[in-house]
């Protein structure tokens, strides 16, 4: 089977700035003192073959969503090499529906934004309405929907835009069990079609029935990646151990892990580019000269 997704030493770090003004200075790279960075994803490497279903496990704040955003190409990794052979599509709870438009119009809009032609939209519309199964509410503005209805519609639209690589970020946890089952059936269908699926969930049961391999991400680092039974069992025994700790010990543990994610970096590594950037700075300034001359001419009444 050919490789579908490959991550090599992927890291994503965020600046932890104390003052708001530091952000602006950083933006224009005027300041190159030591800055504190938070490593949300730290040096993760793995490979996924076509048609595999991968579960992603982890505690809250361990970097699952950051990783799924990287996989979906929503955010760029700070370091590392990312190879994705196909079109990823992220299904998250906040599926980005327009509250003022009706469900039907949202279907049009979302499909349009996914790049479907008018004809294709007409073809899938019925299926989407059918799948969402929210009755006459489809003609109502989305702001009148319950949160369950919103996620139903969001999921229905996303699975009908013909994605190639699906990334499901806890999207199934809002719907009721009948809808969750429906979604799982749909995902099973995708699996049969040979699509690659990333499945992020807290439900070990869902993961056990559904995934081929499981990836456990722990405070930004890849802790384990292997067969589902092994990883899920290890994860469950970890959570059991963790829950047995006293509150003070839990806090201590979290603090220790959090400290590990903070990296102090020595400014920006832009030194080698300095000469080139100096040249482009000069070009930028030169651009203003004709503007200045013309302005002076106009003010003087030429």
């Amino acid at each position: 089977m050919k490789t579908k997704v490959k991550l090599k030493n992927i890291s994503k770090s965020y600046d932890m700035l104390e003052k708001k003004s530091d952000k602006i200075l950083n933006l224009f790279s005027l300041k190159s003192k030591k800055n504190k960075q938070f490593l949300a994803v730290n040096n993760v490497s793995f490979e996924v073959r076509e048609g595999e279903t991968i579960g992603i496990l982890g505690l809250n704040g361990s970097g699952k969503s950051t990783l799924s955003n990287i996989l979906a190409r929503v955010i760029e990794p700070t370091e590392g090499e990312l190879i994705i052979n196909g079109e990823p599509s992220l299904i998250a709870i906040s599926a980005g529906l327009n509250n003022n438009l009706s469900g039907l119009e949202n279907i049009d809009l979302k499909c349009m934004m996914h790049g479907l032609t008018e004809e294709e939209i007409e073809n899938v519309k019925e299926d989407i309405i059918d799948f969402a199964d929210i009755g006459d509410y489809i003609y109502q503005p989305v702001k009148n929907y319950s949160s369950g209805m919103k996620s139903r519609l969001g999921f229905a639209i996303a699975v009908h835009t013909d994605p190639d690589i699906l990334i499901i970020d806890e999207a199934l946890s809002v719907g009721d069990s009948t809808f969750a089952q429906k979604c799982l059936d749909k995902l099973e269908e995708f699996k049969k079609e040979g699509k690659t699926i990333f499945f992020i969930s807290h439900s070990a049961a869902q993961m056990k029935t559904f995934c081929d391999r499981v990836l456990w991400i722990h405070y930004g680092e890849l802790k384990e990646f292997g067969t589902k039974d092994e990883v899920i069992n290890n994860y469950i025994s970890f959570t059991k151990w963790f829950n047995k700790l006293s509150d003070a010990e839990k806090r201590e543990y979290k603090k220790k892990m959090f400290q590990k994610q903070i990296k102090i970096s020595e400014g920006y590594t832009q030194k080698q580019n300095r000469e080139r950037s100096l040249l482009s700075q000069i070009a930028n300034v030169l651009l203003f000269i004709p503007l200045l001359i013309l302005s002076v001419l106009i003010v003087l009444g030429y």
């Binding site: 979906a72 760029e76 992220l90 003022n100 809009l109 106009i298």
Partner: protein, 271 residues
């Protein structure tokens, strides 16, 4: 440097259908839940025109005309109609990336078309109002001269400028939120320093002040549009001024494309 500019332009051209369809959607969504619906597109400007006409036309000018051939209301409309397009487009276009990036970042979507969608969306009202202006000119019996032929040139200039500016400021306003509030105030100021409500080239204004006010790019466009209707000279008669406008537009476009390309991948990080 031209490669990046060309890439942004190509994204607009390749996605022209998407831009058009999303713009019509935007308008639909704007007046949803209003009983009068898209009629508000005309009620809003009509009310504002009435206010400006009463205050500036009757109140301050006492019904006097600015140049003797044409009633003040028509002179006013030639400035206000482009302004009703320029002002909201500048403000909304600058806000468009910040507003929409969380929606579109979940998919492969060309962020550079977001400001363009606002420009196109607001164009419908602009062209309708222009049409009404032509009807009014007909009713008042104002004869148009050969100079009306340069109206498409000025409309084109306006679009290029708006595109360059909103691309530039949509990036900036996502990175620095204070910029958006600042821009809103600046646009309010520009209403009074552009040739919209009064004539800055009139005899009561000193020459040096007129010249300084002419540095404002909207001066070029609004004055030019009015010139197309009232007929004085061609845009190429004043080559220095035309050159100034285009150099300014290019500088804004250049930096707009530059910072857009630099930050487009990281917009989500700045929300």
């Amino acid at each position: 440097m031209f490669k990046l500019i060309w890439q942004v332009f190509r994204e607009q051209i390749e996605n022209r259908k998407l831009i058009y369809r999303m713009a019509t959607f935007e308008i639909k969504g704007m007046y949803q839940g209003h009983y009068l619906g898209s009629l508000w597109q005309f009620i809003n400007p009509a009310i504002q025109i009435a206010i400006y006409w009463v205050v500036f036309g009757i109140g301050l000018r006492g019904g006097q005309t600015i140049n003797s051939d044409i009633p003040y209301i028509l002179w006013l409309l030639m400035g206000l109609i482009p302004w009703f397009f320029i002002s909201p487009t500048m403000v909304q276009g600058s806000n468009s990336v910040y507003q929409k990036v969380s929606l579109v970042s979940k998919m492969n979507f060309p962020v550079s078309i977001l400001p363009t969608i606002r420009i196109v969306g607001n164009s419908f009202q602009f062209f309708n109002l222009l049409l009404i202006l032509f009807v009014l000119l007909l009713i008042y019996g104002v004869e148009l001269s050969i100079y009306i032929l340069q109206l498409p040139y000025y409309i084109f200039s306006l679009y290029v400028f708006l595109f360059a500016f909103t691309l530039f400021s949509s990036t900036l306003s996502t990175l620095i939120r204070d910029y958006q509030s600042f821009l809103q105030q600046v646009m309010r100021m520009f209403l009074y320093i552009s040739p919209i409500l009064w004539n800055p080239a009139g005899s009561q204004v000193p020459d040096w002040l007129t010249n300084v006010l002419r540095l404002n790019p909207f001066y070029y466009i609004i004055d030019g549009m009015r010139n197309s209707f009232l007929g004085d000279n061609w845009f190429f008669d004043d080559i220095v001024y035309t050159l100034y406008f285009w150099v300014l537009t290019f500088v804004i476009l250049y930096f707009g494309v530059k910072i857009h390309m630099r930050f487009r991948k990281n917009f989500v990080d700045y929300l």
